[in-house]
């Protein structure tokens, strides 16, 4: 029982040698080196998420309904165009960056936005959530007054309207794409679409609104996805 075989002895000697070699090379006492900035960049490049953020958020905007529509539409488009990425929607990114992206605390301009992205805690949080690109979008829809005319009238025999009205409408969207691997070079994308809402009236007025929002959003999504696809390291991701 107490005697060890030759094979066991040689195994013990080998372990002792390995420990001595490790000790001499300093592996046992020296902690692993901290990640260099190049390694951190590699971590960011390996991240697979695109964050969408409505910025600058307009608190006066009716409960953010416009931004929610654009957020939803961009998410759908980008999911199809760059399927290798996962999309994080506005509310998720806003929560992730709380309290820095609320209406009263958000950066006022691109310079301040870049400064925010350079903050160590912000970069760590975004890297932790796997965010590689941040799309800060904004925009609005402008409607002109109704033109033309509709006349309505009624009597004992009945009532009805007759006429035709129209109104021009334009949706303009823009986005700044921040590549977290290269914060110094944000890329701009813009899209706009105009249309005419019409309202024919024959007995009853029937409004047919122009859907400029969907078109502009589709175009913006396409531009953003093109910029992302052109990144050399993204081309290798499948």
């Amino acid at each position: 029982m107490g005697k060890s075989t030759g094979h066991e002895r040689s195994k013990t000697v080998n372990i002792e040698r390995a420990i001595i070699v490790l000790f001499l090379t300093g592996s046992l006492v020296v902690p692993p080196p901290a990640a260099t900035s190049a390694e951190k960049d590699t971590e960011i490049q390996a991240a697979q998420n695109i964050g969408l953020l409505w910025w600058p958020a307009d608190p006066a905007q009716s409960m953010y309904s416009f931004s929610k529509d654009i957020d939803r539409c961009l998410t759908q488009h980008l999911l199809k165009a760059v399927p290798q990425f996962t999309l994080l929607r506005h509310e998720t990114v806003q929560d992730m960056l709380y309290p820095l992206m609320e209406p009263g605390t958000q950066p006022e301009n691109e310079h301040d936005f870049a400064a925010l992205l350079r903050r160590k805690d912000v970069r760590l949080r975004l890297a932790d959530k796997g965010v590689r690109f941040l799309v800060a979008f904004s925009g609005s829809t402008r409607s002109e007054d109704w033109q033309g005319g509709i006349f309505c009238g009624g009597g004992y025999g009945g009532a009805g309207c007759l006429g035709f009205s129209w109104a021009d409408k334009e949706t303009a969207l823009d986005a700044v794409l921040w590549d977290l691997a290269d914060i110094d070079r944000p890329e701009l994308a813009q899209a706009s679409e105009s249309g005419t809402s019409i309202m024919p009236a024959f007995l009853l007025p029937i409004p047919i609104p122009a859907s400029t929002q969907a078109g502009a959003c589709r175009e913006l999504g396409q531009r953003i996805s093109t910029i992302i696809k052109e990144k050399p390291d993204v081309q290798n991701i499948n």
Partner: protein
Amino acid sequence: MRVRKRIGSRARPRSGRRGLAYWLVLIQVMSVASCTGTVEVPDSQEAVPLFRQIDAKVAKSFATKARLTEVETALFRAEVGAISVGRFDQAFDAMFTETTVAPNWPPWQRVDMNHVDGIVQLEEAIADIELGNDAGIPDLVQVTYKACLYDNRANVVQCWDSSASQAHKRNVGECLTDMSVCIGRQLEITVRDAVARMMVQIENDPVIRTWASQQATREARP
């Protein structure tokens, strides 16, 4: 008596107009009944708030005046104090390297607080809700906070105020099904914004950083 009898009577045929009126009253009563209650607003969030931490050990305290703030309208009640306490509790945890809870009773001012560097207290939470309507008058929500940092001898180091407001013009029928949900979302946005403003203000305040470094120096002294 006569009126009661007529309402209770089912055998007597009613005119179509009166029947419609009864239905409208019933629908109105039901919709008001469905609206009354407490507004549900989350009192915390998933992610830890981002903050350049202040190197100090503080006790968290929430003044009764702030804790019990409520707003009551004819349609609902909003426990703004409870929501704010939850949010600030999370915020204070993110702001300081170490936090504990200050005793409620006896008040921390009367207790030896030498085990902490200071006490951070939410002093006030003031909220105001003005209901609008579907005809273009917006719902207004306003929240104001006051918080102070005290040293462990109950001397004020610094106080901060923050305020946020939100005006929301309803879309037609948007708040018809449940008014409290509609206002709840607006209240959440406003509370989030006001707490965020306070946090950013504290983060950028040089007084608190100087105070924290003085505490560190005092502790390092033999």
